[in-house]
């Protein structure tokens, strides 16, 4: 069973479109995250969210919005896609406390054309 699963794995779309990436974790973790990995492999946190608090990286454009229907899901919705949004997006989860580290999904490669 996949611990953190993301869909789709690949997403190709045109500029200006709106798209969503889904993430689900079956680990019972209480915090979930979205990271963006650019073409230079640099990983940058976009959001962290638990059932109490959403923390947004201030550098993330407001075209990006996380949506959490329940504790096991954190979807990423992107409005008005731009070329610069092309990247690999990783979902992750963790349990409160640091003993377990983060568990990452396999990533979604988004290509905006």
């Amino acid at each position: 069973d996949t611990a953190v699963s993301q869909t789709p794995k690949y997403l190709v779309t045109q500029m200006g479109n709106d798209k969503s990436i889904k993430c689900e974790q079956n680990l019972g973790h209480d915090t979930m995250y979205w990271y963006k990995q650019d073409s230079k492999k640099f990983l940058k946190i976009m959001f962290s969210y638990n059932n109490k608090e959403l923390i947004i990286n201030e550098t993330v454009p407001n075209r990006f919005s996380p949506k959490s229907p329940d504790k096991a899901h954190l979807n990423l919705h992107i409005n008005s896609l731009e070329l610069g949004d092309s990247a690999v997006y990783f979902c992750a989860s963790s349990q409160n406390g640091i003993n377990y580290g983060y568990t990452f999904g396999s990533g979604t490669r988004l290509t905006v054309v």
């Binding site: 640099f42 946190i45 990783f90 640091i98 580290g101 990533g107």
Partner: protein, 112 residues
């Protein structure tokens, strides 16, 4: 200010040779340190972590890292690398906001 620094963007090494991937952290982050590995076209996998206790931590595939407080370092080492170790390696630290901050990564290429 950069919290985690990986000075080497690429490290080529011959098979069965030793390797060290360098990581330095700033005093602004916690001393909860991690190494993650990303194999080609895959997600990130936790390799090892330092939380407290013994400063030398080991992974199941022969890697080890040593927490050095005086040098603010957490270098990753392996005495003899294999072709299958070719991957991107990321050092990371927990920030005060309890988020995982990553270094820029080191591409390890093992040459046959």
């Amino acid at each position: 200010a950069q919290s985690v620094t990986q000075l080497d963007s690429q490290v080529p090494v011959f098979e069965e040779a030793p390797v060290e991937l360098r990581c330095n952290y700033s005093s602004s982050v916690s001393v909860y340190l991690f190494w993650y590995v990303q194999y080609p076209n895959q997600g990130l996998q936790l390799l090892l972590k330092y939380l407290s206790g013994s400063t030398l931590v080991e992974s199941i595939n022969g890697f080890e890292a040593e927490f050095n407080k005086s040098q603010t370092s957490f270098h990753l080492r392996k005495p003899s690398v294999h072709i299958s170790d070719t991957a991107e390696y990321f050092c990371a630290a927990l920030t005060g906001a309890n988020n995982l901050f990553f270094g820029t990564g080191t591409r390890l290429t093992v040459i046959p």
